[in-house]
């Protein structure tokens, strides 16, 4: 099964406690919704292979606990991640307000700067919405993230969110190749002495 997998991507889900990180993941991986999902302790881990534009990618998704105390531990999991899903609850403004803290943490602990970030506003099925879609959009634009609103309960936007993220990661050069053949910087604009044909420099005289 692994033979045709293009790459394995590490993705991290973060956000305040109770915004539905684990539910989103469960919806994505198992396509189920469990209203009585226990609060995550530490980090949890799930795997799913998806196909985007004909490219198969294996996703190793790390789901983290949102509680303050667990947070001292989670930053270490940022290491080597190619994508981060930052979740807030559209029915609770405080989870949206705290996004800045999460971004700070991301910035501090991420080992690379080209990592792809996605903002997900969860629980849009609920009626008592407190955060407008436009606010989410604005925030995402300001911090150059992908943005989508979703509901783990009704399944809205969940699949789409993960697919978008993976597509973006695959499109980002150098982010996922294990062996990225970066061509070095050329120091001189023209190599001296290009062999027999052209003669660099002042060859005809001296």
């Amino acid at each position: 099964m692994d033979e045709d997998v293009l790459t394995t991507l590490k993705i991290l889900i973060i956000g305040e406690s109770g915004v539905g990180k684990s539910s989103l993941l469960l919806r994505f991986t198992d396509d189920t919704f469990d209203p009585e999902l226990a609060a995550t302790i530490g980090v949890d881990f799930k795997v799913k292979t998806i196909s985007v534009d004909g490219n198969k990618a294996k996703l190793a998704i790390w789901d983290t606990a949102g509680q303050e105390r667990f947070r001292t531990l989670t930053p270490s999991y940022y290491r080597g991640a190619q994508g981060v899903i930052l979740v807030y609850d559209v029915t609770r403004r405080d989870t949206f307000v705290k996004l800045d803290n999460w971004l700070n943490e991301l910035e501090t602990y991420c080992t690379r700067n080209d990592i792809v970030n996605m903002l997900v506003g969860n629980k849009i099925d609920k009626e008592n919405r407190e955060v407008d879609r436009n606010e989410g959009l604005k925030f995402a634009r300001k911090h150059s993230m992908l943005f989508i609103e979703a509901s783990a309960k009704t399944c809205d936007g969940v699949q789409c969110a993960f697919e978008e993220l993976v597509e973006k990661i695959i499109q980002t050069p150098g982010l996922w190749e294990s062996e990225n053949q970066n061509k070095g910087v050329k120091l001189s604009h023209r190599e001296e002495g290009q062999g027999g044909g052209a003669c660099g420099g002042y060859c005809s005289v001296l």
């Binding site: 226990a38 609060a39 302790i41 080992t111 120091l187 052209a198 420099g201 005809s204 005289v205 001296l206």
Partner: protein, 1023 residues
Amino acid sequence: MAADNEPESEVFEITDFTTASEWERFISKVEEVLNDWKLIGNSLGKPLEKGIFTSGTWEEKSDEISFADFKFSVTHHYLVQESTDKEGKELLEDVIPQSMQDLLCMNNDFPPRAHCLVRWYGLREFVVIAPAAHSDAVLSESKCNLLLSSVSIALGNTGCQVPLFVQIHHKWRRMYVGECQGPGVRTDFEMVHLRKVPNQYTHLSGLLDIFKSKIGCPLTPLPPVSIAIRFTYVLQDWQQYFWPQQPPDIDALVGGEVGGLEFGKLPFGACEDPISELHLATTWPHLTEGIIVDNDVYSDLDPIQAPHWSVRVRKAENPQCLLGDFVTEFFKICRRKESTDEILGRSAFEEEGKETADITHALSKLTEPASVPIHKLSVSNMVHTAKKKIRKHRGVEESPLNNDVLNTILLFLFPDAVSEKSLDGTASTDNNNPPSESEDYNLYNQFKSAPSDSLTYKLALCLCMINFYHGGLKGVAHLWQEFVLEMRFRWENNFLIPGLASGPPDLRCCLLHQKLQMLNCCIERKKARDEGKKTSASDVTNIYPGDAGKAGDQLVPDNLKETDKEKGEVGKSWDSWSDSEEEFFECLSDTEELKGNGQESGKKGGPKEMASLRPEGRLYQHGKLTLLHNGEPLYIPVTQEPAPMTEDLLEEQSEVLAKLGTSAEGAHLRARMQSACLLSDMESFKAANPGCSLEDFVRWYSPRDYIEEEVIDEKGNVVLKGELSARMKIPSNMWVEAWETAKPIPARRQRRLFDDTREAEKVLHYLAIQKPADLARHLLPCVIHAAVLKVKEEESLENISSVKKIIKQIISHSSKVLHFPNPEDKKLEEIIHQITNVEALIARARSLKAKFGTEKCEQEEEKEDLERFVSCLLEQPEVLVTGAGRGHAGRIIHKLFVNAQRAAAMTPPEEELKRMGSPEERRQNSVSDFPPPAGREFILRTTVPRPAPYSKALPQRMYSVLTKEDFRLAAPQVCPGRQLLPGAGIEANLQEKPTHSRHVEAAGRSPARIQLGCNGNNATKNP
């Protein structure tokens, strides 16, 4: 054949190519290539702008064709021009081809950097057919003619108007003959190449004679010939007093004296002059025949008087650069296979090895409560002990590093060792490095190295220095061994390691740095514990289960169960996930409280007695929250810090977690494994808040899981009613389960979540087994980081914009390479190479500045001009000297030449002055200001009708270059000729075909007359 099903009436016309000769096939291949590249027809581009040959981009396209089994490469060279519309590329009637028009264009004479054909003929576009293999050559005249005939036929058949050349003779001779065909006109590009200049042609008048006889113009008088001349002078002998700038520190460093040593600094600069030659080109761009006299007895061409001066510099190839060598040598260590032991002779780490191999033994020794004597640390003391150990192992052998050097380095690395203050004091101030926010400081983030003020970084620099100046690999191994000894010493004696940021390992740094930080964390905890032990020893001795401590570090569940049973009702499943070490986590701040409560709570415990317990381990009150049951204020407890992790541990841990799989059981198990921290926090919370409930805990720990609602009670009052969230109420979820298991134990008496003893031993063992090669790999990012900083620093003194750009590129390139766990050697080498190049560039800038004396220049304006001139020299292939010989820069160059001439003639300056007479006399008797020109170039041009006076006037041009060992005339012969009809018989073509060139091998004989022109033998049909 293909017509089996065609009606009978169809008329077949079979064209038979089966008997085509190799030659015909070759021609058709040439035509095919020309067609493929769309070089057919004529499209006139814009007139060439001044200098476009240098500033524009040249591109080339290549293809390979063969004549029988002889391979040729066909290459199309062209100047990239702003796309003239493809649509506009229609055949223009009766316009002479672009290349012929360009013969007269004077805007690009003497391009500084160009293909020789461009230089000789002023072409903007041409095709060359040359033997593909470098060693191959077309030597015989008949073969040359055959090739040229092919070209001629191909051009005629396709109507291509781009000049087509064939390279003949050995490649180094750069002999090209070619042809260009246009409507009613044809150019034969011919060339004479001799090793020795015939005497009569060493000057302008002789060359004019050739030119005139060649064009054979029937008109009298001849139309005026326009002349462009360039003489090039070479300056090789820079006077000593113009290059005294040896890198100032080199001697001191090479001497190997400790006094001159400054560890932590990198050397910089070139050891030899990175500028080897200066070429001065004096140009007379536009002269007319008769204005100037240049013959074998007299010449008006005085370089001082030339209207244009331009200068180029020749750079020394790969000058030896100190910084580059330094880093390269360090990189070489990465490839060494030897272990430290092998390098240092007999096993120096023998004892170390034993200790680390048997961690249990080390553990019991270290964890014994006996207080460790803290004596003052001094370097000499350290070195002494170290030396003693080494001597013991190595016997009489000399150690690679002498004591003085070793002392200096250790002092540099561990400045706290000599400080008068107590050790911990110094260490902690060292740790509080003001976190500089500057871009430079944060570079370690990009390189994954270590901060520039850290121990790791300094160690890298020291090892680099030792490798280069003090004992090479052996020295490196020796210092590393000392370093590891020092680390152990510090661990055993509770001395913090200086030069490391406090807190958990910084994952943005290199692994070695993380390991040292980890060790520091361990020392910190151990120290806190030991000190706590000392202060409270009298009170709490009975709480420390000494037996458990001695039980050691083994992860044997049975062993654990036993202890658990002894201790009471602790759920074994919980404990098995936390660290097994039977030692307590402890903080200094707790020690006072400990005195009061320790004994009591040690024996009691269990949920039932909770309320009656005295609160313990409180950190501070949590806002206004009160406990739900008894209304007491809610306190945040002192908690255990989570275990610090280095990236390899983390990797290991996440691997273990990931291995549990994605099943429900796996997830459950995973949560269990990570719940030690939760349990510990719950226990601390219970201890701090007697009588608390899970709701209280959740309100502190996960406030969103406590849902409060405004409810109107029976009396109609609005009351806040709270309850746990649904997920917390799930029966037997892990939170509830943990809560039930948790006993009220303050953090300091809980089992340690982080076993510092074990972790420290692991780190020390890890350090001890690193080979010099491993070490070099660990530290290479630091060395690259330091080298980049050094280059940056040096550049800022010179302010070279191109270097700034390259440094930026190096940083971004390195950050990509170094973030991978095992960067390829090739990529690392490339980075080092880039750094060396930048160093050479800066050294060149310095050399030039010194030579042109920019610093000595007094007038501000002139100085600025001169600086600009120098920086142009670095970046451009050729720089125009403003004001030629009379400008400021020109005068300096003049002086450089004069000085070199004097030195060459061994004439002391005074004598020279005495002999100064009239300019004429001086010219003959004394040394002239300039050496004879190393190269002389002449371009002669005119437009004449030929062969008859009524013929169309066509451009004529002759380029000639004379150097010491090379004489070349390149003369396109433009003559009216009928355009060959496509498909015209080969036979016919051949008969009209004249010989195209005659190459005279002049070695030994001097031809009386050089004949250029079209009157020669007819081409032979069968070579």
